[in-house]
Amino acid sequence: MTEQATIYLCDDDEDVRGGLSFLLRHSGFDVRAFASGKELLECIEVEPKPLRAIFVLDLDMPPMDGDVVHDQLIEMGYSKRNPVVFLSGRGTIARAVSAVNKGALSFVEKPYTNDTLLPLLHRAVALEEQWTAEAKRCDFLRYMWDSLSAQQRKVALLVAAGDLNKTVATKLEIVERTVEMHRAKAFEKLGVDSPAALATTVAAMKSCGIEMHTE
């Protein structure tokens, strides 16, 4: 990974927003600052995907509070690869905790110091890289799986489950010769050379949440 994630900062207080972007820029982060959740959501909608972003959200910014923005992000599917960090003021701890329970990375209480915020953001960047890599792999696996025909998928799943060609033929009510043909094709497309390697790949696909069922 050569490129680092951009920090999408959202705070309705101009001074806090300015100071924080200044600090983060000089600490080596790419920063984009937004005055409201609405602006942020509008922007990321038109950004190229996949978005390389870390969200830093102020909790208390009416009318659209940070936790509401977070809910939107979860709904839009960003939470899987984009860490979210909350900035919490007074009286919002319960909501911050609730947001963390919903999958946010963490929160910092204002006034924070760079001693607490910067390490957290570095961790977030690393996490984002990891999540992005995983997502990329999953994307690749999905691409490979999508390239298989329906019959090839059935055969691949049965073989990965440990069935012999003969058994597969019986189960699918086709001749063994055809099974061998589909199997060779699937091995080739998925870049594996043994049933064990196939099983590993299928497990990785499952963990990526790829839809494996063929019918």
Binding site: D13, D15, V16, G18, G19, L20, F22, L23, L24, R25, H26, S27, P62, D65, D67, V68, D71, G89, R90, G91, I93, A94, R95, V97, S98, E109, K110, P111, Y112, T113, N114
Partner: protein, 655 residues
């Protein structure tokens, strides 16, 4: 009937007054008695009259008898005078006899036959007359039948004194009667002479004058076998037959009866009235005595005319001791007598405030009581003021409660003020957060940038570092304050918000009553407990009610405040929360948002110790809840806040 002063509400008076109750009969009885007396007197009078009359009658008859006998005597004498003449006369014969003047006169008068018989009953001579000349008077007797004759017999004596026979003169009774003057009798009686056969011989009967009275008969001694019968013309008038008397007496009885009837009706009416007034008096008495309000009536000089039991109990003096007293009164505290005399003069002058005034009295046992006195003029039926009626309410208890309440409220206010200071500090800390965060960020960024570009400018670097350090230090102070306030927040107890609603309504009770606001409580019965700063939340509710009441102040008509509590769910966290809504039917928010309403935070209202909505919001948020405001669908403002049910527990877990 006597009106007893002791209350005897429903009892007629004692049985001893049976006579009293029958008193109405008296006029009738008197009338009966009077009539009886008159009857008795009349009866006695009658009897006396009757006997007097009887006597008169007897005397009258006697007179008649005597009169008749007198006539007979005269005739007999006349006859006796004839006898000597016969003896001396030379020739005795009928002619000679008849020619005697005495005989002729006798014949004219009465006799119709005269016979001289000798001792051997041989007739010597006789004379007779056929018809007697009528000499009867007009109103004299009418002869009914004749033929009844009587004889006078006279012995004849010779010269030598030898008996020479007898001289018999015969006469008709009717002739005798006719020649007797009975006119004096005729006026009063019808006179009848009746023979022994019952045949009326002579009568004064006349068709003009019919006798009606009683009759009386007596056999006459002078005439054998003849009865004198007298019949009164006028019937003796017994009083009983006197219609006028009877009418008078009957009238008297009727009048007596009528008087009795009237009296009876009057007595019944009076009795009823007395009973009613007794009952009423008893009721009034028991009402006055059972009243919680002391009552006293005073004349225009301030003299006590009446006190009820309650007042007596209030001041510890008996009714007898109080009635008749004039100010200064014994239950006035000695140290305040001058002031009270002055006020008393005002009261008697009619300048007592209609809404009453408060004062202090001293009970006989020395304890002081606070009383509220309302004076009203006593006006008689002519509209003239005859004194003053005072109602006295013992407000000692109320005063004590008010005092207690005031202490409580003051303590609350003190507490709230302390709490406010904490909240203000906390709010300040929050407000300082943003600039400090900004400063810290800028200075940290500056430091990083400077280190990269001008690593040799230690002077500049030191300055930036100092700014950064100081920002950090300020941030630490702010955090310390926040920790302090969160420590005070941790002084929280589990309680039911419904209880806090009730508590805060007690705080605002006066305002609610004064402004005549109708409270409508709709409290969820199964509200879970929440862990809150009890006083803080109580102040929040009281403040919302106060704001609602203030908003209703200018409102005419019905003023209502609704308070609802319910279990709900926080929109963002999905946590269970308890929600309190305060709604009014006032003018509503008129476009103001919750932020505008809360911006009055720094200009807390000067009157009273109500918290601004900003502080309310701060308190609610310090509990992890939310305060929101809007217009109710029914009009009016609706302010609500939520308190998370398990907020405190979550916070603890996190820490």
């Amino acid at each position: 009937m006597t009106v007893s002063t002791a209350p005897q509400p429903f009892q007629p008076t004692a049985p001893a007054s049976w006579i009293n109750r029958q008193l109405w009969l008296l006029p009738f009885l008197l009338a009966v008695f009077f009539v009886a007396m008159i009857a008795y007197w009349a009866e006695a009078n009658d009897a006396q009259e009757q006997s007097a009359y009887q006597n008169t009658l007897m005397a009258d008859i006697q007179s008649v008898e005597l009169q008749l006998m007198g006539r007979q005597d005269i005739e007999r004498t006349k006859l006796r005078e004839v006898a000597p003449k016969l003896v001396g006369s030379p020739s005795v014969g009928d002619v000679a006899l008849q020619s005697l003047p005495e005989v002729a006169a006798g014949m004219d008068r009465l006799w119709n036959r005269l016979v001289w018989i000798d001792a051997d009953n041989q007739v010597i001579a006789r004379a007779h007359r056929e018809v007697l000349a009528q000499t009867a008077s007009t109103d004299s007797l009418k002869i009914q039948s004749t033929g009844q004759a009587e004889h006078f017999v006279v012995p004849v004596t010779s010269i030598d004194g030898k008996p020479a026979g007898q001289l018999l003169a015969r006469y008709e009774i009717t002739d005798l009667l006719q020649s007797t003057d009975l006119a004096w009798l005729n006026r009063r009686y019808q006179v009848d002479f009746v023979s022994e056969l019952g045949e009326v011989i002579a009568t004064t009967e006349s068709p003009i004058k019919v006798p009606r009275g009683s009759r009386y008969e007596k056999p006459l001694a002078s005439f054998k076998d003849t009865t004198l019968r007298l019949t009164q013309f006028e019937a003796h008038a017994s009083w009983r037959t006197n219609a006028r008397t009877m009418a008078l007496l009957g009238g008297l009885l009727l009048l007596g009866g009528a008087a009795s009837q009237l009296l009876r009706r009057e007595m019944v009416r009076v009795k009823r009235a007395v009973m009613a007034s007794q009952t009423e008096a008893a009721w009034r008495q028991s009402m006055e005595d059972s009243a919680l309000v002391g009552l006293r009536a005073r004349d225009p000089d301030g003299r006590i005319l009446y006190v009820n039991k309650t007042l007596c109990t209030m001041v510890g003096y008996s009714r007898e001791e109080l009635v008749g007293l004039i100010p200064p009164l014994p239950f006035w505290p000695p140290e305040a007598v001058d002031g009270m005399m002055a006020r008393n003069m005002n009261t008697l002058a009619g300048e007592s405030p209609a809404e009453g005034f408060e004062t202090r009295w001293r009970h006989r046992d020395g304890h002081i009581l606070d009383v509220m006195i309302f004076e009203a003029p006593l006006v008689n039926s002519h509209g003239v003021r005859i004194g003053w009626m005072g109602s006295i309410v013992d407000i000692s208890e109320r005063k004590a409660l008010e005092e207690k309440e005031r202490h409580h409220v003051e303590a609350m206010a003190q507490h709230a003020r302390l709490n406010d200071m904490g909240l203000i500090a906390s709010e300040l800390a929050h407000e300082l957060n943003q600039p400090l965060t900004s400063i810290a960020s800028y200075s940290a960024g500056l430091e990083i940038a400077l280190k990269k570009r001008l690593p040799d400018e230690s002077d500049l670097l030191g300055a930036v570092d100092a700014v950064h350090r100081n920002a950090k230090k300020a941030g630490d102070i702010v955090n310390w304050i926040r920790r302090q306030s969160s420590r005070s927040e941790s002084l929280r107890v589990a309680c039911n918000l419904n209880v806090l609603v009730a508590e805060s309504l007690k705080q605002r009770k006066r305002q609610i009553e004064r402004n005549r606001i109708q409270m409508h409580l709709n409290l969820a019965p199964d509200l879970p407990m929440v862990t809150v700063d009890r006083i803080g939340v109580e102040q929040v509710i009281a403040n919302l009610v106060r704001n609602a009441a203030d908003a209703l102040e200018a409102q005419n008509g019905v003023r209502s405040i609704w308070i609802d509590t319910r279990l709900s769910e926080d929109a963002s966290t999905r946590n269970a929360t308890v929600e309190v809504l305060v709604r009014d039917n006032g003018p509503g928010l008129q476009g103001r948002t919750i932020d505008m309403l809360c911006s009055t935070f720094y200009s807390t209202k000067t009157n009273g110790m109500g918290l601004g909505l900003g502080i309310c919001r701060a308190i609610v948020e310090s509990h992890g809840g939310r305060l929101s405001a809007g217009d109710a669908p029914t009009g009016g403002a609706e302010i609500s806040f939520t308190i998370p049910v398990s907020q405190a527990i979550q916070e603890k877990e996190f820490q």
